[in-house]
Amino acid sequence: MGGSAVSAAPGPRPRGPRLARLLTRALLPIAVAAAILVVLPPLWFGDSPYTTGLAVEALVFGCYAVGFNLIFGSTNQLFLCVGALAGVGGYSTAILSDKASLPLAAGVALGTVSAAIVGGLLAWIAVRRSLNVIFTGIVTLVFSLAFTNFIIGQRDLTGADTGYVLQGAATDLADDRVGGYYLFVVVLVVLLIVFRALQLSHVGWAFRALRDDEVAAELAGVDVARYRIYAAVVGSAMIGLTGGLYAYSLGFISPVTYGFAQVDVQVLIIVAFGGMGTLLGPVIGAAAFGFLDRALTDSGQLREAYYGAFVIAIFLFLRRGVVPAAVGLFDRLASLRRGAQRVDGAPGRAER
């Protein structure tokens, strides 16, 4: 499986109207999601800073979830260090732009690169030691906890538990929540397009093969180790970028912003709920839990208990996630209409 994404693209290269049709089909779900996200604030919550704040948070979790989905959903590596990777991005951005007085964009870029390197290293270790899902999960969990302790330990640099105020943060973004909202809509759409491009290239083909059956994929000539590291690097970069920008839009970060209990648990639930390895699963999951967050605002102390009950209920009844369930339903309806003709999911059709 050598060569660049372009040369290895499946089938003859489509031209003219076919290319346009293919592009439309590939990007349509993203465009629809983006359109809905863009019109939400004026139609619904734009005048309530509180709800807008929750929406920003949901978007940020959606972005984390896209990265996590690339790592876990596509290549079966249970990275329980989403919070820590985002923290690598966030603290690097904060410290580089404040203390080393780099421009913000450079800070965010370096934060993204650091997260990508850390994620790639973790995947490299996991691949070298051929750790299975649980062991990868534990090693990355250990890394998360170590990272939190490291941040708390470096009081002079990070402000420990008290948190860290970004002097260079754009106050216009921090004050105007709608601005932050649109920033993360853009980020989410960009990440989704990257995810989609990977899905449709030879990389996505390799991902599907190794997810279905690792041994068979290896025998068929897929370099499982390489694609795992590849997914981890790109996914971690996505998470680091989001973490850095989130620090910048909040103007204040603390270990809790990137804590394991606060980030990883939520992201895992979002991706599992939406449907692992699917394009829009993370967005749907993040939206659902955003709504849940809003709905549970008034339940005070019992909030966590309701949240847990909801988690149990969805995983009892929707085991494979919303998107696969919806696709399955759609397929069944379609095959009813067209007789016994089999209908594949969207990625398969786009490839043909």
Binding site: N76, I125, R129, S130, L131, V133, I134, F135, I138, V139, L141, V142, F143, L145, A146, N149, F150, I152, G153, A261, V265, L268, I269, A272, G300, Q301, L302, R303, E304, A305, Y306, Y307, G308, A309, F310, V311, I312, F315, L316, R319
Partner: protein
């Protein structure tokens, strides 16, 4: 130095007991019970409630352990059933997510009902001298209890027929069924044992420092790390890992400093997993 290591062993025995409950359930049911720490906290709150009603400490501790065991069995008989019907990684993931949900429910309900709930069992008496090192009576008693239970568990799993039956199910479910052992019965009993152990850990921990409603998360992560480092499914491994990590923790806490300690401890755990992915005593 002697005192530091001794303290580490005391701490480690507690870690070990925590790991055992988790490791057994994983070995038998293929479920990493993320609600484990919350079950321990539930037991602790029951103990403190019973003590508030004027019951003697021993009775209260017994009631708390039974309550934790009952909660654990309830989990096995209800929510874990659909998990057992899955295989491989689907089972692992569904088990993780469902027990995570249960953890949220338990901690949410406890926070709501007893927001300031905590268990502290005060053990009076002068410090007891062990190998020339004076140690607080509470932690000495806690380690005596832990050591006793550890001994009983090791003898039980090594020598008794039922204990061997349990290990046979861990090794080969079909084979166990062929020789007349019911895996689901064994599983339920082990869930009960695991819950009881969680309750016991809550009690022994509260003998040296108060155990609050929010302690569940830390308990779960420690149990998880100890169980994996020791080798999932291995009782002796969990104790060995617990004691080793306890010593690493205490020695580095004493000579290096608080936050670096946690990192040293976690790095030790990570290196063990990487060098021996099956765990210290795993198969």
């Amino acid at each position: 130095m002697k005192a530091v290591i001794l303290d580490g062993i005391v701490l480690g025995l507690g870690f070990g007991l925590l790991g055992v409950g988790l490791t057994l359930v994983y070995g038998l049911g293929g479920v990493l019970n993320l609600a484990y720490g919350e079950i321990a906290v539930f037991g602790a709150i029951v103990v403190s409630q019973v003590m508030d009603r004027g019951a003697p400490t021993l009775v209260a501790a017994g009631v708390g352990m039974l309550a934790a065991a009952a909660l654990s069995v309830l989990l096995d008989l209800t929510l874990m059933r659909p998990v057992y019907r899955q295989t491989g990684e689907e089972r692992t993931l569904l088990g993780l997510l469902l027990t995570l949900g249960v953890a949220f429910v338990i901690v949410g309900l406890l926070n709501w009902k007893y927001p300031t709930g905590a268990l502290y069992i005060f053990v009076g008496g002068d410090p007891i001298s062990i190998a020339g090192v004076p140690m607080a009576a509470g932690s000495v008693w806690a380690s005596v209890i832990t050591l006793g239970v550890a001994g009983v568990l090791l003898v039980f799993f090594g020598l008794t027929t039922f204990g061997r039956g349990v290990r046979s199910v861990i090794q080969d479910e079909t084979g166990a069924r062929l020789v007349g052992i019911s895996p689901s019965l064994v599983r339920t009993l082990i869930f009960a044992l695991s819950g009881g152990l969680a309750g016991l850990v809550a009690v022994t921990r509260s003998m040296s420092a108060p155990l609050t409603v929010t302690a569940g998360f830390d308990l779960t992560t420690f149990a998880l790390i100890v169980a994996v480092v020791g080798g999932l499914g291995s009782v002796a491994g969990a104790f060995l890992a617990g004691v080793l990590l306890g010593i690493v923790d205490n020695v580095s806490a004493h000579y290096i400093g608080e936050y670096i300690t946690a990192i040293v401890l976690l790095a030790a755990a990570a290196i063990t997993i990487l060098v021996r992915p099956r765990g210290l005593l795993g198969r």
